[in-house]
Symmetry: C2
Subunit: 224 residues, 2 copies
């Protein structure tokens, strides 16, 4: 009998990290490392790449203020100097060492294609501006997560990000006007599942804008 | 003109954390704190809750080995002794202090309903065993993430978790037999989007099992 899902008895904890100005180390300079670097840089972290060589795609990062390349191999212990570490080399001993150094210093570490060495797993992501949907199998089958991501990409309306921005403004208005936390929660939930929000996703922004305008007028009348 | 989406120009980095045996601090003992505690404990972290009082729902956690309650207020600096910190009190000065202490020690911190104080945001999650889908607006409108989560919950087949487990086994077989990483990748992607996987999601596991059985037989014939 094949080993089955005994390893799935624990649950991973999904979080969305604010990496602005956080120090990050990426070990490796191949195609996979390039994809990892791209996502990390987009999130605003201060990225150091350690690798004797880089694939040409890395050139796009060279002008960036938050990108630094050290053209050498990984040095023992250095992972401990960073807050988040990704190892993407094809040398198993290097990956092992990076993992060991990072774990002993308590920093977050991901080793590509070695879920057993990771303290965090990198999901597939569908993004609509500030709204993100992250899908992971905890390293069991990343291709399944990618497959599902593609399907969601087709059905999640483009307008979802703009809706999140609009609802943020509406939520701030409600916070000003409604003191009870419970009533605020119900109010916001009602707006989220309203026809106005649904229409917004279909490209018709008029209804939600009208609600917002009505509130602004009401507020200026009461002199608030 | 209302302030619009200028704050959305940075991107949050979604990760799935392995919290087994990681020390976590939760400040607060209300309903919201209880929900946060529940998810953290499920993920296997060593949780300390600091709060003069707990709502009765917390009683379910008292027998757990990885749960500890300290019946007192938050003490200056103590957030720095933990790897991950959640503040869920309704006292703004306490939330501020926890955030400050955690940030100055480089530990991850989430302050409920204060996205500006968070280094990580907690998403809404749809789970199918080891497959998880995490949705976040980065604190702009958590109710929108919850709304989308409910919709996904209705359309994501129950069998997705079992499929991830099955594909993990299939992937291990492929790893043994196919040396080229690129060919392995294509092979796995093909299985993931195959009719066999599609049928599996509809409750018909026979096709995927037959593929696996065929490989096992082939392997035993070659004596591998």
């Amino acid at each position: 009998v094949a080993k089955n899902d005994s390893s799935s008895s624990f649950v991973l904890y999904p979080v969305f990290l604010d990496l602005r100005n956080i120090t990050a180390l990426l070990v490796g300079g191949g195609e996979v490392a390039h994809r990892k670097a791209s996502r990390l840089l987009q999130c605003g972290c201060l990225l150091t790449v350690v690798s004797p060589k880089l694939v040409p795609a890395f050139e796009e990062f060279l002008p960036l203020m938050n990108f630094r390349w050290e053209a050498r191999g990984y040095e023992n212990g250095e992972a401990g100097n960073y807050r988040i570490v990704v190892s993407a080399t094809d040398e198993p001993e290097v990956n092992q060492r990076v993992c060991h150094d990072a774990k002993s210093c308590g920093c977050l570490v991901n080793v590509v294609d070695r879920p057993d060495l990771c303290t965090f797993h990198v999901p597939s992501v569908t993004r609509r501006e500030s709204l993100q949907i992250a899908i992971s199998t905890g390293g069991k089958c990343p291709a399944l997560a990618r497959h599902l991501r593609k399907q969601l990409d087709e059905i999640i309306p483009e307008q979802y990000g703009a809706l999140a921005d609009k609802l943020e403004i509406i939520r701030a208005y409600i916070k000003e006007k409604v003191t009870s936390q419970e009533r605020r929660r119900i109010f916001v939930a009602r707006i989220v599942s309203s026809r106005a929000s649904h229409e917004f996703l279909n490209g018709n922004e008029a209804l939600l804008d009208a609600i917002l305008k009505g509130w602004k007028r009401a507020r200026s009348r009461t002199g608030g």
